[in-house]
C-alpha cells in the first residue's frame, strides 16, 4: 500500500487551473493530469522516495502545463488532419467554430477524400452477386415446386445464397471507402460469418413453413443458427469502435452542430414519455397476441401480430414527429 502525499498534487493543480474557466473539457484534462501524476508519485514512492519529494519530482517532470491548457482553446478552432488532404494543403481548413456557411461543403470534402474502389473488389462483388441471384432463384423454385428431394435442393440453394452474401459482407468491410477505414480482418470475417449463418437459419425456417409435411429438424437446426448469429452480431456490435475517417467525423460534427434544434423527442419531454409508454404497450400487446395466435392458429399466421404492431408503430412515430400535421420546423424557434 503506497500512501503518497496527494495534497501537494491537488494544491499544485488548483494553482495552475486557478484562472481558467472550468469548462467540462478543462475539468476533464485536470482530472486526467491528476490521475497520471498520482500514478507517477506512487511509482516513485514504491522505489523508496519520500512522499513530498516524490510529488515535487512528478510535478517537475510533467513540464509546462500551461502549454497544454492553451492548446485546449485552440483545439476548438482547428484540428490538424491525420494523413488527409495533401492536395488541399494551401487552403484553409474548415473551422469547427466557424459560422454555418463558411465551412467547406460536404461535397467538396467528399471529393477531396474520394477513394476509388479496387477493381478486383468490384469484379468479386459482381460475381458473388450473380451467384446470389442464381441461388435465390433456385431457392424460390424449390420452395414453390414440390419435387421429392426439394428440401435438399432448397437447402443447397440457400447455401448458395448465404455463403456468397457472407463473403460479400466480409469483402466490403475490409475495403477502404471514402468515409470509412477498413475493418480489421477478424471482425470483418465475424460479420460475414454471422450474416451467412443467419441467412442459412432463416432459409431453413422458410423451408419449414413452406413444407407440406412439417419437418421438425428444419426448426431444430434453423432456430439455433439464427440465435447464434444474433448473439454474434450483438457481440460484434457492442465491441465495435469508430471506423469513420477524420474528415467524415468532422462533417458529421458540423452537421449536428448546425442542425435544426433537435427533434420533438428532445423538445417536448411529455410527448417523448407518451411515445415511450404507447410503444411499450403496443409491443407487449403484440408479443402477447403473437403467443396466443401461435398456439391457437400456428406460426403461419401469428407473425401478423408483429406486422400490425409495426404499422401502428409507424403511425405513432408520424404522429409524434408531426403533431397536428405541422412540420417540426414550424413548432420550433431557431437556437
Amino acid at each position: 500500500m503506497t500512501r503518497y502525499d496527494t495534497s501537494t498534487i491537488h494544491r499544485y493543480l488548483d494553482g495552475v487551473f486557478a484562472n481558467i474557466p472550468l469548462t467540462p473539457d478543462v475539468q476533464d484534462l485536470k482530472e486526467e493530469i491528476r490521475g497520471n501524476l498520482a500514478a507517477r508519485v506512487a511509482e516513485l514512492e514504491a522505489s523508496g522516495a519520500d512522499p513530498t519529494a516524490a510529488s515535487r519530482k512528478a510535478i517537475k517532470e510533467l513540464g509546462d502545463i500551461d502549454e497544454i491548457i492553451a492548446q485546449l482553446g485552440d483545439d476548438e478552432a482547428e484540428t490538424p488532419p491525420v494523413g488527409a488532404a495533401r492536395s488541399g494543403a494551401g487552403r484553409p481548413r474548415p473551422h469547427r467554430s466557424a459560422p454555418p456557411g463558411v465551412r467547406v461543403s460536404t461535397t467538396e470534402a467528399y471529393l477531396r477524400n474520394k477513394v476509388r474502389p479496387h477493381p478486383g473488389y468490384v469484379a468479386r462483388t459482381v460475381l458473388l452477386s450473380l451467384a446470389t441471384a442464381v441461388g435465390a432463384v433456385a431457392y424460390i423454385i424449390a420452395l414453390v415446386g414440390g419435387d421429392s428431394s426439394w428440401v435438399l435442393s432448397a437447402g443447397a440453394a440457400a447455401c448458395v445464397v448465404a455463403i456468397p452474401i457472407g463473403l460479400l459482407v466480409t469483402d466490403s468491410l475490409v475495403q477502404e471507402t471514402t468515409a470509412n477505414h477498413p475493418l480489421p480482418l477478424w471482425r470483418a470475417i465475424g460479420y460475414g460469418l454471422s450474416t451467412a449463418v443467419i441467412l442459412g437459419g432463416l432459409a431453413l425456417l422458410g423451408l419449414y413453413v413452406a413444407a407440406s409435411p412439417r419437418d421438425a429438424w428444419l426448426v431444430m437446426a434453423g432456430v439455433p443458427l439464427v440465435v447464434l448469429a444474433i448473439v454474434a452480431y450483438s457481440y460484434l456490435g457492442a465491441t465495435q469502435t469508430n471506423r469513420k475517417k477524420a474528415w467524415a467525423r468532422e462533417v458529421e460534427h458540423d452537421f449536428f452542430a448546425n442542425a435544426q434544434p433537435a427533434n420533438r423527442l428532445e423538445e417536448d419531454p411529455a410527448a417523448a414519455a407518451r411515445f415511450g409508454i404507447f410503444s411499450g404497450i403496443l409491443w407487449i400487446t403484440a408479443i402477447g397476441a403473437f403467443i396466443v395466435l401461435s398456439i391457437q392458429i400456428g406460426f403461419a399466421w401469428s407473425w401478423v401480430a408483429f406486422f400490425a404492431a409495426l404499422l401502428i408503430q409507424m403511425a405513432l412515430v408520424a404522429g409524434m414527429v408531426f403533431p397536428h400535421g405541422l412540420p417540426p420546423s414550424s413548432t420550433t424557434q431557431g437556437k
Partner: protein, 128 residues
Amino acid sequence: MADNTKASKGTTPASEAFASDLLRGHTDTIVLATLRDTDRYGYEIYKTIRDATGGEYEIKEATLYATFRRLVNDGLVEAHWGDESQGGRRKYYAITDAGRAVFRRAVADWTATQRIINTLLELKGSPS
C-alpha cells in the same frame, strides 16, 4: 531506471536532437502502437515509450496530452475513465478500428520511406 530519465533530460547531444526531431513527426503513430494490444492511461503510455527505448527517448508529457486530444478528435482512439478509487482516477485510451487502419498505413509508409532513405544513403557512401 529513474536515473536514466534524469540523465537524458539534462544532456542533449546534437545527434539526439536530430533524432528526436525526426521522431516527433511520428508521435501519433508511436502512441497508437502502444495501444494496439491493451488500453492504457497517459502516464502508462509515457512510461511504455520511455522504457521501450531504455530511457533513450521520451515524449514530453505536454506533447502527449495534445496528441491524445488530436487522436480522440479524429476518432483514432476512444477515452474512458477507469474505476480507481484511490488517488486520481485514470483516463484510459483504447484504439479504434480507424486507429488500427491509420496505424497500419503509417507503418507501411514508414517502412517504404526507410527503405528508400537507406538505399540513398548507401548509394552516397559506396565508392563509384
